[in-house]
Symmetry: C2
Subunit: 454 residues, 2 copies
């Protein structure tokens, strides 16, 4: 019989009551000073009052908090328990296929109703807004992972939800829009006629296919204009990254239970939230000198923010409505080419991730998309789960590291974030199999041009 | 603050090592004689030799076994552990929305890589075929849940896989086809030019959109013709239902842990496998006189096999290639209208389910599709998960039973099978919201005509 022998436990679960009850705020442990957001007009650090039109005070407090831990409110815990704790898996079938001595673990965040890690912060943001009396939330979304997560969360907490969806995704990826409708959200293609920012772009370019930067401008303007409305962002900001640390806090417990600690932690980065959510609780030990764990952020060659962008103050949006934040950026006017990993097409990076890169706590690598899909297919054919194109960037890096380990005769423990499944991204897989997918790399000349303008 | 108060544990998990290690074979406990499959030519009960061209001997033995329990082989357990044990959930948010005193629990089978309960039997069938030296499996699929599950399972056990997919689904639902490609299967639209059965149908009707019955004929013919190839069916047969009993065995442990036992067990039925998988382990206690639990099978008005079909011997396929089995049927030539719940469009019913209906152990009810989607949306907006259209039939019945309980002042415990998520079925939800979905009910005149021909 040529079938394989039985194996040890490969799926480590936590009981519902073991779910972590507080978030980890890495700001408390940074061994270097932070760079505060700056007001675009005054060039002075912004204060809570500047953000009050957009966010409820509890989230503004979290954004600047120096407390190491912040309790997760009970109603947020209740919502999280619809799909958390999430499983930690050992990828034994992938290890065998790679003939590697590396141990590969992954945290699976695709089991949430919207299919990604995004609702971890969406339910928290919906809760704090509901508690502060907000009636309606606006946001932007690219491929739709974040928009669908916020639609889900606002329905749980009985808020209205208005999603500005990048026009090209609105037209080409109808099904995440359908998910948002199921959860009761309004969705319009961006640039839209509903905001001045949208109308201005359309006047300049009636055929504009939109971008995340434009959609952010629209959502921010909408929220700023209406008393009953606030704005919600799915990545980049400190409080968003903090809400995702429940991933890493669970993974720490689970890795302990597996009697394994990672030598390397890997995640894909667009704005930085799924990577940070897994990495920060492990970084806590590194920052405090207790481990030498490596951290690897993986981005697309088409939008190589960390690996080739500039570390400087820049706007978060195209319309220059947000504060300036210090981050790795390709410039707020940069519109990345249309790769399938829509969630990684952001010109900037979370300031916390950027600062940790600058201080050598986080490494980064960029990949072209065909080799990313090759890794995704290898993963699906060994471990079963079909990963999202964004997540597949992390998998590419993990496979490369595992192969390197084999060649060097090393046996590292690798942990990565399987941040979402790819069941709404199957057209991208079709394109890969049909041979019509191209490797899009931002040229050096274009990077020089973009960086020079900063 | 208007947000809800914290609640008790609503998600009951089992450890990996708690996964049941044997299947429950209800044939051992039936208080009535079975009705054996009959050879269409001789009208005599078929023997193992008749089935040997299609199935490996271990599965043929399981099909007729009178053993109460059959051990799950270790490699099958390993494969199941990629996503099992699955969670049991208490639907407290739905209960609150319905203002019901009923306690509603559901077993969530949508967390498998293909997104439904189907891989529970797919990995078992792939294993037994691999062990018997089979190189290639053929099967049919409608909307693609079963085809994608078998593609996944054959990839795990390194078999080739050939899927005959009902042509209208092949054209209208491209993404489950994409999933099968990711897992390396061949997929052709049925009726195809590859088999005599397919060519005959195409000669009669070049525009044929296909049916499950036709696709079964093609898959059976392909398997019968080739020495290295066997056939695999995703429902109806005794061994398939038995492989699904791991659902109910887990649910029994979980309900005990929740200190709750169901008064009513609900599942949707196409061929009967997800319903049986959950129900049979609970039926064991009822058959042995220890409980009075009710069992409710839910089917579509467009294909009301149990509620309005005839209990008689009929073919499993359109091409009359399978044995005759005694079941509720609308006739093997009946092609149901194109409802969105493609997995429930089968003219017959599992013989075990049919016999248990005839002996009053199982009740049945049928629903039109708009009220089914109304229930699906209510579920998604309270519990989060977007259910498959098939599964939504069960949810409709659960909501109706919970409302009845409220009206009667009763507090029953209801358990249902959330057999799959609807993330590949979002076009159906679009149709529901657009108001273009129609309620398709098989007319009484047509039923009379169909039944008279049997």
């Amino acid at each position: 019989m040529s079938v394989q022998a039985p194996q040890a436990a490969t799926r480590i679960l936590l009981e519902q009551q073991e779910m972590p009850r507080r978030w980890y705020n890495i700001q408390a442990d940074l061994p270097f000073p932070g760079s505060p957001p700056i007001h675009p007009a005054t060039k002075q650090p912004i204060g809570p009052a500047d953000l009050a039109p957009l966010f409820p005070m509890e989230l503004i407090k979290q954004e600047v908090s120096q407390e190491r831990y912040i309790d997760i409110p009970d109603p947020v815990q209740d919502a999280l328990r619809l799909w958390r704790p999430t499983p930690l898996m050992r990828a034994t079938r992938l290890e065998k296929a790679l003939k590697t001595s590396a141990k590969i673990y992954y945290k699976y965040e695709g089991g949430s109703p919207p299919g990604s890690h995004k609702p971890n912060t969406a339910v928290a943001q919906a809760f704090y807004n509901k508690a502060a009396g907000t009636k309606r939330l606006t946001t932007e979304t690219g491929a739709g992972q974040w928009g669908s997560a916020l639609a889900f969360a606002t329905k749980l907490f009985e808020l209205e939800c208005m999603v500005y969806m990048v026009r090209i995704s609105f037209e080409q990826k109808p099904y995440r829009k359908s998910m948002m409708h199921v959860w009761g959200a309004d969705v319009v293609p961006s640039p839209s006629d509903r905001t001045e920012a949208g109308r201005r772009i359309r006047a300049e370019d009636p055929q504009s296919t939109g971008s995340l930067g434009i959609a952010i401008s629209e959502a921010v303007e909408d929220a700023a204009k209406r008393e009953d409305t606030k704005y919600s962002l799915g990545s980049v900001l400190n409080h968003v990254l903090m809400h995702q640390t429940i991933i890493g806090e669970e993974a720490l417990l689970q890795m302990e239970r597996a009697n394994a600690m990672p030598d390397l932690v890997v995640g894909c980065v667009g704005g930085g939230s799924n990577f940070s959510g897994l990495a920060f609780p492990f970084l806590r030990d590194r920052l405090q000198g207790r481990t030498k764990t490596r951290f690897l952020a993986v981005e697309p060659d088409a939008c190589p923010t960390i690996t080739r962008g500039k570390y400087t103050y820049d706007f978060g949006d195209t319309g220059e409505m947000t504060p300036l934040v210090k981050m790795h950026t390709l410039g707020h006017r940069f519109i990345p080419d249309g790769i399938h990993a829509g969630g990684l097409r952001y010109h900037g990076m979370a300031p916390l991730v950027s600062a940790l890169v600058e201080h050598d706590f986080i490494e980064a690598v960029a990949y072209p998309q065909r080799t990313v899909f090759e890794a995704a297919v290898q993963f699906a054919r060994t471990e079963g789960t079909i990963p999202a194109p964004e997540t597949a960037h992390a998998i590419r890096a993990v496979i490369d590291e595992a192969v390197k380990a084999r060649e060097r005769g090393e046996a590292p423990t690798i942990l990565f974030n399987l941040s979402g499944h790819g069941l709404l991204d199957l057209a991208a897989y079709d394109s890969y199999f049909a041979g019509t997918m191209s490797d899009i790399r931002l040229s050096d000349a274009r990077v020089q041009e973009l960086v020079a303008a900063l």
